[in-house]
């Protein structure tokens, strides 16, 4: 039985299949879905409004691709302090903590490297000179951040893309967990969390996409609790002088990390934690597995 329901804003569809209600929508340039361990359509509508609304709210507020939002304002006010609301302040504080913890490898100012690195197979590898010209504009420590105020120097930009999607997953999970009894799985473009077990006591099965065969799940992961996040994209890489460069850029060198896995999936209590660890693992290149082992979390590393 498939029931298509169209809502005016935002778009989502609801279907019921094998005792699970599935809500699909697009957000943050990714396919997203919410699975509910229930066949209650009215409930599904309520949950859809909540989940889609929250995802869209976070995207509109923090995407750097949208004009007029807070990130746009910060990125377009060089040399001026921009006031942050409580939520933005928490996100920025978290970005700084990740920067410190990762010894500068996780850096929300590294997005400007995408001006010269295009992983679309058409653009050439940039020259060292082009990279060197951008490096002075990267480094979170160059930003002035007092509590609740942020000021960027001329030429610098911030991009919360590295935490936004995982943050949205955790926020939606938190909202839904408090309100609804059935187990719910939230999946925004592969970053996943669950609110609880299925009523039957069964675990949730998650398929992990094989980067080489992108429509087929290559392995299955069982989840009882917590969240998983994946970093890496098999279809985005550059071959240069015989070396394969993934799309993960090292903010300190301005170059892609050599020897990264093709993708890393990490399980943790929150999607935010899982996403940071997965990204850092990619940045560890050939040491990814060693790094992941040390963290003591469940992971899947695809090379």
């Amino acid at each position: 039985m498939v029931i298509e329901v169209k809502e005016s804003m935002p778009d989502f569809s609801i279907s019921i299949d094998n005792r699970i209600t599935r809500i699909r929508f697009r957000c943050m340039a990714s396919p997203c879905e919410v699975l509910i361990d229930s066949q209650d359509l009215a409930l599904a509508h309520e949950i859809a409004a909540c989940a889609v609304g929250e995802a869209t709210r976070i995207e509109h507020k923090f995407s750097r691709y949208l004009d007029g939002n807070l990130i746009y304002q910060i990125n377009h006010s060089p040399g001026e302090f921009v006031e942050l609301d409580a939520e933005a302040d928490r996100l920025i504080a978290f970005a700084f903590q990740c920067y410190d913890l990762s010894e500068g490898l996780f850096d929300i100012t590294s997005g400007i490297l995408q001006k010269i690195w295009r992983f679309d197979g058409k653009h050439p590898v940039p020259t060292q000179r082009q990279v060197d010209e951008l490096l002075p504009f990267i480094g979170l420590d160059r930003i002035s951040y007092d509590k609740k105020r942020l000021k960027l120097p001329e030429g610098m930009q911030i991009d919360l893309g590295g935490i936004g999607k995982e943050y949205a997953v955790d926020q939606i999970t938190g909202l839904l967990r408090n309100q609804y009894k059935p187990g719910i799985l939230i999946n925004l473009g592969g970053d996943i969390a669950i609110t609880g077990m299925r009523q039957s006591g069964e675990q949730w099965f998650i398929g992990i996409e094989d980067p080489d065969r992108s429509q087929q799940a290559s392995s299955m992961l069982k989840m009882r609790r917590g969240a998983i996040a994946t970093s890496g994209d098999a279809n985005r890489y550059i071959l240069h002088r015989g070396k394969r460069y993934g799309h993960i850029l090292n903010p300190k060198t301005g170059w892609p990390v050599e020897g990264s896995p093709r993708s890393v999936t990490v399980g943790a209590d929150t999607c935010t934690d899982a996403g940071i660890i997965a990204t850092l693992a990619m940045l560890q290149g050939k040491y990814a597995e060693e790094f992941l082992e040390r963290q003591g979390l469940k992971y899947h590393c695809h090379r």
Binding site: R90, L91, A93, F94, F96, Q97, C98, Y99, D100, L101, S102, E103, G104, L105, D141, Y145, D146, Y167, D170, Q171, G174, N250, K252, A268, D269, T270, T272, D273, I276, I277, L280, Q284, Y287, F291, R294, Q295, G296, L297
Partner: protein
């Protein structure tokens, strides 16, 4: 760059705060640290010192610290006067009474008894993400001494928090009200005359200004170095009102070296000190901790001192540890330090025979044993043996003083018990 740490603990704390989730310790509690120290010099001073320290996180990374200390001292310390082959009679500091010192004994001031109460308050607050400010206040009161002090310091973390710079300043105001009034410097103490002690006012004051510059550098995941430069200026009444200098007979004969007079000491009224402190600390692969520090201090009184401190914290099973340590200290004498003065010579404008300003070395050897496995409940016991020694038979000794011990050793035992818990 390879990340060699386990990040998940700190990361989940950060993400819990991002997501508004409860963290393991949501409600801020008081960190309480209690200690009792027992200090005992052989035949001299005994002190018992209970300490209560309290610390609370007021808000994110903002701390309030309170500390109460009570010192109770009994016993006697060397007055600075030399021993004699004869019984010596001295006036008590009040001038109302006398006491005698047996022949060939080091004169002590036997009325030494005091209780000191001290309270300090510290407020440590992050000003910016990488800048902390610490403000402090200190008050201390004993029978003849009152001190208040205020301090401020700023610590700036940079280089991904691998380097910290500290700048700090302290101002201290002290009031000294010696028993019976301050003795007139360089005047004689004579139990037979009236009054036995000449006075120079009831109350004296001094100010101390300190400036501290520090840098701490994390070398790698398991080691750090620290350097501190401190400059200090004391201005005002710097004498010890109870210390004497003996004037001895210098004529050859049976009385050579016998005290003929006892005068009150006089020190310069300013003292400038600078000190450089460096420390290296390393956590070994088995998580034992090795620490070594060196401090050099130099002042314009001519005292240069060197301190070396080495300790090794040896981790035992189940949260217990044992930490042996040794400390060595040596100092040169103040330029106005004299074992005694010679009768007939002009009395210098500044002079002291206080053993603490003489040339000396100290050695401390100790061991600490404790349990630190649980933040809610940890304790330690420290046992130390302290020896201070100087030149007992200096070349300047004449007559009967050649056979006297002019710088007796001080041997002390220190026992301290600490207990810390959350409240």
């Amino acid at each position: 760059m390879q990340l060699k740490r386990k990040l998940t603990g700190a990361l989940s704390l950060a993400s819990c705060s991002l997501l508004g989730l409860p963290t393991a310790q949501a409600e801020s509690q008081w960190d309480i640290e209690t200690a009792v120290m027992y200090y005992s010099e052989k035949d001299r001073v005994t002190a018992i010192e209970p300490i209560l320290g309290m610390k609370k996180e007021l808000s994110d990374d903002e701390f309030l610290k309170l500390k109460f200390t009570l010192d109770s001292l009994t016993g006697a310390s060397a007055s600075g006067a030399v021993p004699s082959t004869q019984v010596q009679t001295f006036s008590t500091p009040s001038g109302n009474d006398t006491y005698v010192v047996a022949a060939n004994e080091t004169p002590l001031d036997p009325t030494f008894f005091d209780t000191r109460a001290q309270f300090s308050l510290g407020w440590d607050k992050p000003i910016k993400r990488t800048l902390r400010r610490n403000l402090g206040f200190n008050i201390s009161k004993e029978y003849d001494f009152t001190s208040i002090a205020g301090n401020a310091s700023w610590t700036w973390d940079t280089n991904l928090r691998n380097t910290s710079y500290t700048i700090g300043a302290n101002i201290e105001l002290d009031w000294i009200e010696p028993e019976g009034g301050a003795p007139l410097p360089l005047s004689s103490q004579d139990p037979d005359s009236s009054p036995p002690i000449l006075r120079d006012g009831d109350s004296k004051q001094k100010q101390v200004y300190d400036l501290l510059l520090g840098v701490t550098q994390i070398i790698d995941r398991s080691s750090l170095v620290q350097f501190n430069l401190s400059l200090s200026l004391a201005d005002g009444y710097l004498n010890d009102p109870y210390k004497l200098v003996s004037v001895v007979d210098s004529t050859a004969g049976p009385n050579e070296g016998e005290p003929v007079d006892q005068i009150y000491e006089n020190r310069p009224d300013t003292r400038q000190r600078s000190a450089l402190y460096s420390r290296y600390k390393k956590q070994l692969t088995n998580r034992d901790i090795f620490s070594i520090s060196y401090r050099f201090m130099s002042d314009d009184w001519g005292i240069d001192s060197h301190t070396v401190d080495v300790s090794y914290r040896w981790r035992l099973n189940n949260g217990y540890f044992i930490q042996p340590g040794i400390r060595y200290y040596e100092q040169s004498a103040a330029h106005f330090y004299r074992y005694f003065l010679l009768d007939g010579d002009a009395i210098p404008g500044t002079v002291t025979a206080d053993y603490r300003l003489g040339e000396l070395t100290t050695q401390t050897i100790g061991v600490k044993f404790g349990y630190s496995g649980n933040k809610n409940n940890n304790w330690s016991i420290r046992l130390e043996r302290y020896t201070q020694s100087g030149e007992s038979h200096p070349d300047v000794a004449i007559g009967q003083l050649v056979n006297q011990n002019l710088y007796p050793d001080v041997d002390a035992t220190i026992i301290q018990f600490n207990y810390a818990f959350l409240w």
